[in-house]
C-alpha cells in the first residue's frame, strides 16, 4: 500500500493521466457513449491525427535548429495543392512526392528569408502563409478552372488510392495469400470492460492501414533517432541552442538551419498531401483549416519532442474523430470533465490550496449539472471540442517547458569566429 502511495507521489502526472483514462473507459461502457472506444473511432483518430503529426515533426526540425516556423500552415497548403495536382494527373504516389516538393520549396523560401537575410521569423512565417494561400488560388485558376468538377477553389477528384494492409491473425489481414482470423474484432465484440476497449484501440490502429499512414507513423521513431542518436542531430540541436558555440567548433550553422527549415517544409508538404490523398480525395481551398497552427502548438506543448507531438496530435485527432462520428459521445466528455475536476479539487483542498480547490469544485458541479440536464452538447461546442481539448490537456500535461534557447533569434555568420 505504501509503495502504491509513493508511486502516486512521485508520478503525479502519470497518475492523473491513468485516472482520466480509467474514467474514460468507465464512461465508454454506457451504451450511448460506446463510440468513445470503438475501433472505428480509433481508425478515424489516426487519419485525422497524422497530418498534424507530420507537420509537427517538421516543426521540431525547424525549431530545434533555432528558427520559429509559423509558416507550417502555408507549407501544408502547398502540400495539399501539389499533392492533389500530381495525384490527379499521375496517381497518388506521385501526389505524395509532389506534395513534399511543394512544401519543401516554401520551406526553402522561409530558410532563405530567416537564415540568409535575417528577416524576423514571425514576419517571414506570416508572409509564407499569405503567399501560400494566394499561390494555391492562382495555380487552381490556371490548372483547374477549365476542368469538369474543378474550379478556382477545388481540384477534380484524384484518381486511384494508396493500398492498405491489415495485420494477419490479429486484425484479419492476409498471410501468404490466405485469409486469417480477426482476433481483435472478436474481442471487441465481446463487450468486456477494458479488454474490448483495448482491442478497439489496437484494431483501429492495425486494420486497413494504408502504406502512407504506416510511413507517417514510422517517421516518429526515425525522427527521434536522427535528432538524438546521430552527429547530424546533435549539431542541429546545438545550433538551435547556442549557435555561437557551434560555429566556434567548426559547425556550419547556416547549413544546419537551412536543412532544419527545409525539412520542416518537406514534412508539412507531406502532411498536406496526406490530407488530400487519404482524407478527402480532392483539393479544396482552406482544406488545412489551421492544422498547421495546431501542429505548432503541439510542438511547443510537446516540449519540442516527437513523442510530445505524437501525443498532442493523437489527442486532437481523437477529439476530432469523436465530434465527426458521434455527437452523443462528446456529451459523455462532459461527465469526464466533471469527474476529473472533482478529483482535482479534492487534491487541491488536501494541499491547502483552498481558493483553487473551491473554483475547481464549483466548475465540477457546473459541468455535472450541465451533463445531467442535457442530452447533447450544442453543435458550436462540438466543432470546437478538438481545439479546446488539445490546448487544455497539453497545457496541463507539461508545466515545465524548455525551449531551444536561441529559437527565434537572428544569427549572423562570424559571431563565433
Amino acid at each position: 500500500m505504501s509503495n502504491f502511495l509513493n508511486f502516486i507521489k512521485d508520478n503525479k502526472e502519470k497518475t492523473f493521466f491513468i485516472f482520466i483514462l480509467f474514467w474514460l473507459l468507465v464512461i465508454a461502457q454506457i451504451e450511448t457513449y460506446s463510440q468513445l472506444t470503438t475501433s472505428g473511432t480509433f481508425a478515424a483518430t489516426m487519419r485525422l491525427a497524422i497530418p498534424i503529426l507530420l507537420a509537427g515533426l517538421g516543426g521540431i526540425f525547424s525549431e530545434r535548429s533555432g528558427v520559429v516556423n509559423i509558416g507550417l500552415e502555408g507549407m501544408m497548403i502547398m502540400g495539399t495543392w501539389f499533392g492533389a495536382w500530381a495525384a490527379w494527373l499521375y496517381g497518388p504516389w506521385w501526389g505524395v512526392a509532389a506534395g513534399i516538393f511543394g512544401g519543401l520549396i516554401f520551406g526553402l523560401i522561409h530558410a532563405i528569408a530567416t537564415v540568409s537575410f535575417q528577416v524576423d521569423h514571425i514576419v517571414s512565417g506570416v508572409a509564407i502563409n499569405i503567399l501560400a494561400a494566394g499561390t494555391a488560388r492562382f495555380f487552381s485558376v490556371v490548372a483547374y478552372a477549365n476542368e469538369s468538377q474543378g474550379g478556382a477553389t477545388q481540384s477534380p477528384r484524384i484518381s486511384g488510392e494508396i493500398s492498405s494492409f491489415s495485420l494477419p491473425f490479429l486484425s484479419g489481414g492476409t498471410f501468404l495469400g490466405n485469409e486469417t482470423s480477426d482476433l481483435l474484432r472478436n474481442l471487441e465484440d465481446l463487450n468486456l470492460f477494458f479488454i474490448s476497449d483495448i482491442s478497439g484501440l489496437l484494431g483501429g490502429l492495425t486494420r486497413d492501414i494504408s502504406y502512407l499512414s504506416f510511413i507517417a507513423l514510422s517517421l516518429v521513431p526515425i525522427c527521434m533517432w536522427v535528432l538524438w542518436s546521430t552527429p547530424f542531430g546533435l549539431q542541429l540541436r546545438s545550433v538551435g541552442e547556442f549557435p555561437v558555440g557551434s560555429e566556434s567548433l567548426g559547425i556550419n550553422v547556416y547549413l544546419m538551419k537551412y536543412i532544419g527549415v527545409t525539412l520542416s517544409g518537406a514534412f508539412s508538404g507531406l502532411a498536406g498531401a496526406y490530407l488530400v490523398i487519404e482524407s478527402s480525395g480532392i483539393y479544396r481551398e482552406n482544406q488545412t483549416g489551421g492544422r498547421g497552427f495546431i501542429a505548432l502548438a503541439s510542438v511547443i506543448f510537446g516540449n519540442w519532442r516527437p513523442t510530445g507531438v505524437l501525443m498532442g496530435s493523437g489527442l486532437f485527432g481523437y477529439a476530432d474523430a469523436l465530434q465527426l462520428r458521434s455527437e452523443e459521445s462528446v456529451h459523455g466528455l462532459l461527465l469526464l470533465i466533471s469527474i476529473v475536476l472533482l478529483a482535482l479539487s479534492v487534491y487541491l483542498l488536501f494541499n491547502k490550496k483552498s481558493r483553487n480547490g473551491a473554483i475547481s469544485l464549483l466548475m465540477a458541479f457546473g459541468f455535472g449539472i450541465w451533463f445531467l440536464n442535457s442530452t447533447s452538447v450544442p453543435n458550436e461546442f462540438v466543432y470546437f471540442t478538438p481545439h479546446i481539448t488539445t490546448l487544455v490537456v497539453l497545457s496541463f500535461a507539461s508545466q515545465r517547458l524548455r525551449m531551444p534557447k536561441s529559437v527565434g533569434q537572428p544569427y549572423k555568420k562570424g559571431e563565433g569566429g
Partner: protein
C-alpha cells in the same frame, strides 16, 4: 625548454584603431604565461589571431617552431591550440559528453559513437583531475563545472596549448583556487597555458612569465620572480594602480532607507529573499555580497517596486513606500544603477539626450505641465554628465550603442547620481568596465556618499565591496546570513560565507 609559440612583429589594424602594433614575444612550452593589460590594450585581438579567428596584417606566428597561417579556428585546433572563452561556448540543453564531442564527427547520419566517447572522456577527466559527470545536462552545472567542461572540450580535441580568456571573471574565490590547482596540474603534464587577465593578484599567483600590453603594444615580458604588482601596474597604465578609495565617513543618524522583515513573493516554489532587515543611514554605503542568483536581483527589484513583496515594509526617510508604484518611488527620489546597462540601464538605440531622461520622464525636470518633454533640460544635463563623468563620446547626440562599455556605465552612473536623489541603489556598478572607469565610478560613489547620500551597493566584486562599504552583509539563498566589518574582512572570508560554507 622549447618555445611553444613565438609571436614575431604581429600587427593588426581595424578602421581607426591599431589594435596590435608589432607585437613580439615568445611563450615557453609547459609554462603558464599570463598576458595582462587594460580593456582595449589589444589582448583579445592578439588571442583571436592566435586562435585563427582573425588574420594579422603583418608578422609571423610560429607554433613549435613551424610557421602557422591560420584561416579559421579549425586550423588552430589542428595545430593543438584550444581556447576557453570567457563566455562559455556550451549548448545548455545538451549533455556534457555531447558538448565535448560536438562537431568532431561531421554531420552524418550514422549512430553516434557514444560507447567510444564516454570512456575516453572519463579517462581524460581522470588523467587531468577534472572531475565531471559526463551524462549531466549543462543546464544543471555550476559555473566552475561549466568551465571544466570547456577545458575538457579543448583537451579532447588534442590541444596542448590552452588559451584562457579571463577565466576567473565568473568564479568565486574558492572556485578560483580550484581552477588554479587544475591549471598547475595541467602544466605539470606538459600543457602550455596562456592566461589572459587584468587582475594582477591572480597573475602574480599563477603565472610563470607575464607579458604586459598597453595601447596595442607589447610593453614587456617579465619572469614572476622579477615582477611585483606595482611594477606590473605601472607597465599596464603608466601610473599607480587605483585602489578603492579610503573611507573617511560622516554617517548621519538620519535614516535613509529601511527594510523591515521583507519577504519576497515565492516564484517557482522558491522564496527569492526572506526576513530582510536593513537600515541604511544618510551618508552610508551598505554593501551586499553574494554569488549571483541568491536573491540580490529580486531584492533590488523589490526596493524599486518591480518584484512583488509578500510581507514587510520599505521606508524611505520615514515615508512608507511599500505600496507605491515604481514611478512614484522614482519620483520620491530613489535612483538605480542596474546590473545590466545594455538591457536595463540604457536604450542603446537612442542617443544620450534621450537616455538621460530615462527613469525621470515624469519629473518636473523633463516633463512640462502639458506633458511634453523638455529636451532643453535633457540636452543641458546630458552635457553636464558627459563632462563631469568623463564620458568619452563625440557628442550627446551619439547613440548609446556607439559608446564603449565603460563609457556607457559612466553615463548611467552620472545620470543616477545627478539630480539629487535621496537614495541610490547600485547593482554591480563596475561590472565589466576597465580600470580607469572603475576608479572614476568608485570616486563618484564616494563623493555622493560624502554629500550625504545613502547607498545600497550590491556587487560580486569583493575588492569593491571591501573598499567602499561602511557596513557589509553577505546574502546566501535569499537570507542575510552574516554581517561583516569591511575593515577587517578578507576576500576569502567573504567567499566562504557567499558559498554557504562559513555559516
Amino acid at each position: 625548454m622549447n618555445t611553444a609559440i613565438s609571436i614575431e612583429n604581429i600587427s593588426k589594424s581595424f578602421p581607426g584603431v591599431l589594435a596590435n602594433d608589432s607585437v613580439s614575444f615568445d611563450i615557453t612550452s609547459g609554462t603558464i604565461h599570463a598576458i595582462v593589460g587594460e580593456n582595449g590594450a589589444g589582448k583579445s585581438t592578439l588571442m583571436k589571431i592566435l586562435y585563427g579567428m582573425q588574420k594579422p596584417d603583418n608578422g609571423i606566428l610560429k607554433i613549435n617552431g613551424d610557421i602557422a597561417k591560420f584561416q579559421s579556428p579549425k586550423d588552430a585546433i589542428a595545430s593543438g591550440i584550444g581556447m576557453v572563452h570567457q563566455h562559455f561556448m556550451l549548448a545548455d540543453n545538451l549533455t556534457v559528453w555531447e558538448n565535448i564531442v560536438l562537431g568532431i564527427d561531421g554531420s552524418n547520419l550514422s549512430k553516434i559513437k557514444r560507447s567510444k566517447y564516454i570512456p575516453e572522456i572519463s579517462d581524460l577527466s581522470k588523467k587531468y583531475s577534472l572531475p565531471i559527470d559526463v551524462n549531466l545536462t549543462i543546464d544543471d552545472l555550476g559555473v566552475g563545472e561549466k568551465q571544466r567542461v570547456e577545458i575538457l572540450k579543448v583537451l579532447y580535441r588534442g590541444a596542448n596549448i590552452l588559451i584562457l580568456d579571463e577565466p576567473t571573471a565568473v568564479l568565486v574565490p574558492q572556485e578560483v583556487e580550484e581552477l588554479f590547482e587544475n591549471l598547475k596540474n595541467l602544466v605539470s603534464q606538459g600543457v602550455t597555458i596562456l592566461f589572459i587577465s587584468h587582475k594582477l593578484d591572480e597573475v602574480m599567483e599563477i603565472a610563470d612569465r607575464i607579458s604586459v600590453m598597453r595601447g596595442g603594444q607589447h610593453v614587456g615580458t617579465v619572469n614572476k620572480e622579477e615582477a611585483s604588482k606595482k611594477i606590473l601596474a605601472e607597465m599596464m597604465i603608466g601610473k599607480d594602480l587605483p585602489t578603492p578609495p579610503n573611507r573617511e565617513t560622516m554617517i548621519s543618524s538620519e535614516n535613509c532607507l529601511q527594510l523591515k522583515d521583507l519577504n519576497g513573493e515565492p516564484s517557482l516554489g522558491k522564496i527569492p529573499f526572506e526576513d530582510i532587515n536593513l537600515e541604511i543611514k544618510k551618508g552610508e554605503i551598505c554593501g551586499i555580497a553574494g554569488v549571483e542568483g541568491n536573491g540580490q536581483r529580486e531584492l533590488s527589484e523589490a526596493i524599486l517596486g518591480l518584484y512583488p513583496v509578500e510581507s514587510g515594509q520599505i521606508f524611505l526617510e520615514d515615508i512608507e513606500i511599500t505600496k507605491l508604484s515604481t514611478r512614484e518611488r522614482r519620483l520620491t527620489g530613489i535612483s538605480f544603477i542596474p546590473e545590466d546597462r545594455q538591457s536595463q540601464g540604457l536604450v542603446v538605440e537612442s542617443n544620450l539626450i534621450e537616455n538621460i531622461i530615462l527613469g525621470k520622464q515624469s519629473s518636473n525636470t523633463y516633463s512640462s505641465r502639458f506633458r511634453n518633454v523638455l529636451f532643453k533640460n535633457a540636452s543641458k544635463n546630458s552635457k553636464d554628465v558627459v563632462e563631469n563623468y568623463d564620458v568619452k563620446t563625440p557628442s550627446v547626440q551619439t547613440l548609446a550603442l556607439a559608446l564603449s562599455g565603460g563609457n556607457q556605465q559612466k553615463f548611467v552612473v552620472g545620470r543616477e547620481i545627478d539630480g539629487k536623489p535621496r537614495f541610490l541603489l547600485a547593482s554591480q556598478p563596475t561590472r565589466g568596465v576597465d580600470i580607469g572607469a572603475q576608479a572614476l565610478i568608485w570616486d563618484k560613489l564616494k563623493d555622493a556618499r560624502d554629500m550625504g547620500l545613502g547607498v545600497l551597493l550590491i556587487s560580486a566584486d569583493l575588492d569593491e565591496l571591501l573598499g567602499l562599504s561602511d557596513k557589509l552583509y553577505v546574502i546566501y539563498e535569499g537570507k542575510l546570513v552574516k554581517q561583516l566589518e569591511p575593515k577587517e574582512a578578507t576576500p576569502e572570508q567573504l567567499g566562504s560565507y557567499m558559498t554557504g560554507l562559513g555559516i
